[in-house]
Amino acid sequence: MTTIFAKLVDVTRCDGCRACMVACKNWNDLPAAPEEFKGSYQSHDKCNAFNWNMLTFTEHEAEDGRFEWLFRHSACMHCTDAACVKVCPEDALHYTEFGTVNTNYDKCVGCGYCVQNCPFSVIELAKYTDENGKEYEKAQKCTMCIDRLREDMMPACVNICHMDALVFGDKEEMEAMALERLAQVKDRYPNANIYNPIGVDGTQTFYLLAEPPSVYGLPENPKVPTSATIWKDYAQPLGKAMLGVTTMAVIGGFISNKLFNKQGQEGGDHDE
C-alpha cells in the first residue's frame, strides 16, 4: 500500500484570487467555457467538464451582522468510496496509486452514470467531434494532476496558491495540519469545521471550512446514493447468482426427466 495523498483546502486562508482556476486550465489545457453573467462575482455555477476547479463566492452574513465573502476552491473531492467508481460499467473511473479518483479516457464511453451518481455533482460529460464529424462524449473532472504527481510535483492549483490555502501531501499529515489550523481559527470562526465526510469514507480533497458545509453549497451528509449501492452491491451480484440457480434447476429437471420419465410420450403433459 502506497501513501494516500490529499489536498487540504483551508478556506480561511483563501483570498479568492482564482489563480488555482487559471493554473488548472493552463496545465490541463482546458478550453474556455464561458457562462452568462448572473449578477455574482462567481464565474461559473459549478465545476463542469472544462472547469475542473472553480472558486465559489458566497455572500454571507456573520452572526454579528458583519458581511463576509466566503471563498471556496471547489473541485472533485476524490472520495475514498466513490459513487462514480462504483457505478462505472467500463471501469473507466478508478482509484490511482495516490488514493485519488481518475478517468481512463480510452475506456470511457460517455454513458453518464457517474454524472448522475456523484454526490457533489462535479463530474460532467464533454462533447467532442472526431475527424469524421462523429460526436462522442467523455466524462471529465479534476485528476488531481496525476501526471504531475507521478513526476513528484504538486497539483497545479496547489503549486500556484499564494496564500497556502491549498496544501498537498500525505493524508495523515494533512489531517493533523487541518486540526492544528482548526484550533487556530476557532476564535475568529466559531463555526469552523473539518469537512472530510464519512458517508463516502472521507475524501482526498478535504476542507477546513469557516461555516457549516451547507453555507458553502456542500451536502451536509454526502453518501453514495442508496440506489447505487442496491444496484451494484445487491441487484447485480444477486442477478448473476439467480442466473446460476435457474440454470441449475433446468439442468436438474432435464436430468431427472431423462432418468424417471421413461414413458416419455405417454406422460406427455407439461405446462409452460
Partner: protein, 232 residues
C-alpha cells in the same frame, strides 16, 4: 404424431407475431446488455463495433420490444385483453397447480391436476412476471434513455430497477424456454405458438376448462378416453 389428429385453434396470427417479435427483441436486448452487465462479456464489444454501437443497438431493439403490445392494441385487442384478463384472474385451481406441478416438472406424472383455464396457472405466472419485468424494464429504460427529462433521484433508481428486472426476466425466460422446448411432450405447445392450433388431446390435458367450454359451444367433439399405453 399422426396427421389425422383433431386440432383446435388456440392463437391468432397476431398473437404469434407479437410473441415472436417480443422474443426476438428480448434476445437481442439480452445479448446487447451482457457486456453492460458484467465485464465478463467485454469481448463482445469488438463484435458489435464498440460500446457506443452496442448501446445504440440496445436502444433500437428496445423500440422493437415496446412495439408488440401497442400494435396488438390496434390489430387484435380481443386476444390481448383476453390474455390480460386471464393473467389477472386467479382461482383455487390455479393455486393447486403449483402444489402438483413440481412433481411433473421433475418427470413425474400428475393424474389429479385440477382443470386449467385457457392459460394454465404456469402460463399465468409466466405472463404476470413477463408483464412486471417488461413494465420495469421499459419504465426505467425510458428514464435512462432521456435522463434530462427526469429528476436525479428517479434516474438513480432507474439503474437498479433495470438491473433487477433484467435478472428476473432472464430467470423467467430460462424457465419458459425449458418448459416449451426441453420438457417431454412440448411439441404441442410449440405448435400452438407457431401454427396457432393445438391437438384437442393437449387442450383436454392442459386446459381442461377451456376444453369443456369448447365442447359446450360445440366447436369440438369430445375426445375419446385415451387408451392406456398408446402414444398420441
Amino acid at each position: 404424431m399422426s396427421n389425422r389428429q383433431q386440432t383446435v385453434k388456440r392463437f391468432s396470427k397476431w398473437v404469434i407475431i407479437a410473441h415472436w417479435t417480443n422474443a426476438l427483441a428480448f434476445f437481442a436486448l439480452y445479448i446487447t446488455a451482457l457486456p453492460l452487465y458484467t465485464d465478463f462479456f467485454s469481448w463482445m464489444y469488438p463484435i458489435f463495433g464498440g460500446p457506443e454501437n452496442l448501446r445504440l443497438l440496445h436502444r433500437i431493439f428496445a423500440v422493437l420490444f415496446v412495439l408488440p403490445p401497442i400494435v396488438m392494441m390496434f390489430v387484435d385487442p380481443k386476444s390481448l385483453f383476453h390474455w390480460l384478463k386471464q393473467t389477472l384472474t386467479w382461482r383455487k385451481e390455479d393455486i393447486m397447480f403449483f402444489v402438483k406441478f413440481p412433481k411433473e416438472f421433475f418427470g413425474g406424472h400428475v393424474k389429479d391436476m385440477p382443470k386449467q383455464d385457457f392459460f394454465n396457472a404456469g402460463e399465468k405466472l409466466n405472463s404476470l412476471l413477463t408483464i412486471t419485468c417488461a413494465a420495469m424494464l421499459i419504465g426505467s429504460g425510458i428514464v435512462m434513455w432521456m435522463p434530462h427529462l427526469f429528476p436525479v433521484v428517479l434516474i438513480q433508481w432507474a439503474y437498479p430497477i433495470h438491473n433487477i428486472a433484467f435478472g428476473l426476466s432472464v430467470a423467467v425466460v430460462v424457465g419458459h424456454i425449458y418448459l416449451s422446448l426441453g420438457h417431454p411432450g412440448s411439441k404441442a405447445s410449440m405448435q400452438g405458438m407457431t401454427k396457432g392450433d393445438v391437438p384437442v388431446k393437449y387442450a383436454k390435458e392442459h386446459h381442461g376448462k377451456w376444453y369443456d367450454e369448447l365442447v359446450a359451444k360445440g366447436e369440438i367433439k369430445e375426445e375419446k378416453p385415451v387408451k392406456k399405453g398408446k402414444g398420441a
